[in-house]
Amino acid sequence: MTSIFDIPTGVLFGQLLLGLINGAFYAMLSLGLALIFGLLNIINFTHGAQYMMGAFVAWLGLNYLGLGYWASLVTAPVVVALFGMAIERTLLRRLYKLDHLYGMLLTFGLTLIIEGVFRQLYGISGMPYAVPKELAGGWNLGFMYLPIYRGWVVVASMVLCLGTWFVIEKTKLGMYLRAGTENPILVRAFGVDVPRMITLTYGFGVALAAIAGVLAAPVFSVNPMMGSNLIIVVFAVVVIGGMGSILGSIVTGYLLGLVEGLTKVIYPEAASTVVFVAMIVVLLTRPAGLFGKGA
């Protein structure tokens, strides 16, 4: 086996792939957070819980309704998005005129409720979710072994992220959305139903989190705390990238996943903290964030 700097290439690329997968989840979640923040001015703390719900809907579908992985990839985001839109209509809507911080506090409370309920029902031990048989196995690429499912996660997340970017930056729908972010009152005057656009945007951001949850289910085990451990790292990613740019939050997500994977090879002890260290470095050098437009 070949090696670079005394590290076997198989290990190196294996960790980088794992980093890329983590990066895929960072990218999808921070993209959703940025979308929601752009239009609602709310930091959706529930995002992690909604990611967890996506994984759970897939797991429940498989075990109680016989719904397979591919069906869950469609049903889970729809179910979780409907749940999210119901929350937006009934609760979040009441806070738009208040300080942004209240939105964060409300969604934090919702996170506690959702996680508490799932923990009450399913305990804290993780539940396994099998890799779908179409994506089982792996390829030997010579320099590393590539489990097909992991490759699929990276490709699927990239397609989703770039698709979202395309819709927002290049289509008329996205134009309305960007206009709504800049000046909702003016967009409303042009006859666009802004409240409905807000609800749908929230639903879409939540659906992205849920899809990430389904993708994550076979990689990590399905457990009620999987979201809150992730969301805080995603917050750091958001601080690093800044929420001003869609492409920025995608790139930052993948980049930090890779940095984390690389750290796991070089200095494993720092793997859990490297994203936070990166945040500190960015705050010191570029306080507005890599792609940010002011505080």
Binding site: L106, G109, R119, I232, E269, F276, A295
Partner: protein, 324 residues
């Protein structure tokens, strides 16, 4: 006198008398309480009340939402526990060391966090707290999942045996009272006035010539210091420092206590802390009901009860001259 239709202001001497009585009754309740209620529960409530009050200094008076206050509380708790158990320091020095570490951490993290505002400030403090959580998981002296257990309480100033419950209680009460008095003085000092000016209108405070960064940082360090004092005290009371104290749930709890009691009020965080600690004690051991109930209280507070308990009660008491 009690009818709400009379809006005549009460004569000042009546107000002063009533305020004195109110303060006297509060003090008497605090002194007698351990004979009626389980003292360890009271001490827990007082520690978290001080912790929540420190958080309130930031949110209530500087408008800064720190979502990572558990880092100060938890790390000072670790340092004090280590100082007492391994270095064999007396409790007063142990508390001093723990609080100093929290103050230093406050200086470092505050210096980073005030570079961004509003929602970003909250996210940065949360992320920094998570960094310190992982640090606590990895550093050997914190002893991982076990935490630092069986911390000796020692003798205060070499005289008072804190191992006994009553001396411990009155010591905690004294520290709490001193801490709250200190925070009260900070809030009502010229410094506190400037903080409020920054909270209400930052650009105006800048144009008036105040160096807002310095004010925010000072407030952050003061708040971290008091949070550290509360954490040190807690580790002596429970003779334990564990990962629970640095966890993000603890950061959330202190937000909840302040919100429920009343943001920006002197006694709100204390009232909120006692309610939350009561809920914890009552529902402890039956699954994750504590978390669910805390979530529900959060949602209700944000949607319909933003003034909090004390915030709602104080106009009523002000009208009757009981509080200023």
């Amino acid at each position: 006198m009690t009818s709400s239709s009379t809006v005549l202001p009460l004569p000042p001497e009546v107000c002063v008398r009533r305020q004195r009585w109110f303060a006297l009754i509060m003090a008497a309740v605090a002194l007698v309480a351990p004979f009626a209620v389980y003292p360890v529960f009271l001490m827990k409530g007082l520690c978290f009340a001080l912790f929540a009050s420190s958080f309130n200094l930031l949110l209530g008076f500087a408008g800064l939402l720190s979502f990572g206050h558990a880092m100060f509380f938890g790390w000072s708790s670790y340092v004090t526990a280590h100082a007492l158990k391994v270095w064999g320091l007396p409790p007063e020095l142990g508390i001093l060391v723990g609080t100093a570490v929290a103050a230093a951490m406050g200086l470092a993290t505050g210096w980073l966090a005030i570079r961004r505002q509003g929602i970003y400030f909250a996210m940065i403090t949360l992320a920094l707290a998570q960094f310190f959580f992982f640090l606590a998981v990895q550093v050997p002296f914190t002893r991982g999942e076990d935490g630092i257990q069986a911390v000796p309480r020692g003798h205060l100033f070499g005289v008072v045996d804190l191992g006994a419950t009553m001396p411990m209680y009155y010591f905690v009460l004294a520290v709490f009272a001193a801490g709250l008095f200190g925070l009260h003085r900070i809030v009502h000092s010229p410094f506190g006035q400037v903080l409020r000016a920054i909270r209400d209108n930052e650009p105006r405070a800048v144009s008036l010539g105040y160096s807002i960064e310095r004010y925010k940082l000072t407030a952050f360090v003061l708040s971290a210091t008091v949070a550290g004092l509360a954490g040190s005290l807690k580790s002596i009371v429970f003779q334990l420092a564990s990962l629970t104290d640095v966890d993000w749930h603890t950061s959330g709890e202190v937000v909840l206590m302040t919100l429920l009691g009343g943001v920006g009020t002197l006694f709100g965080p204390t009232v909120g802390a006692f309610v939350v600690v009561t809920v914890q004690n009552y529902f402890a051991g039956i699954g994750s009901w504590v978390t669910i109930i805390q979530g529900v209280i959060f949602v209700i507070c944000v949607l319909a009860f933003r003034e909090g308990i004390v915030g709602t009660a104080s106009p009523f008491m002000k009208k009757r001259g009981i509080i200023v």
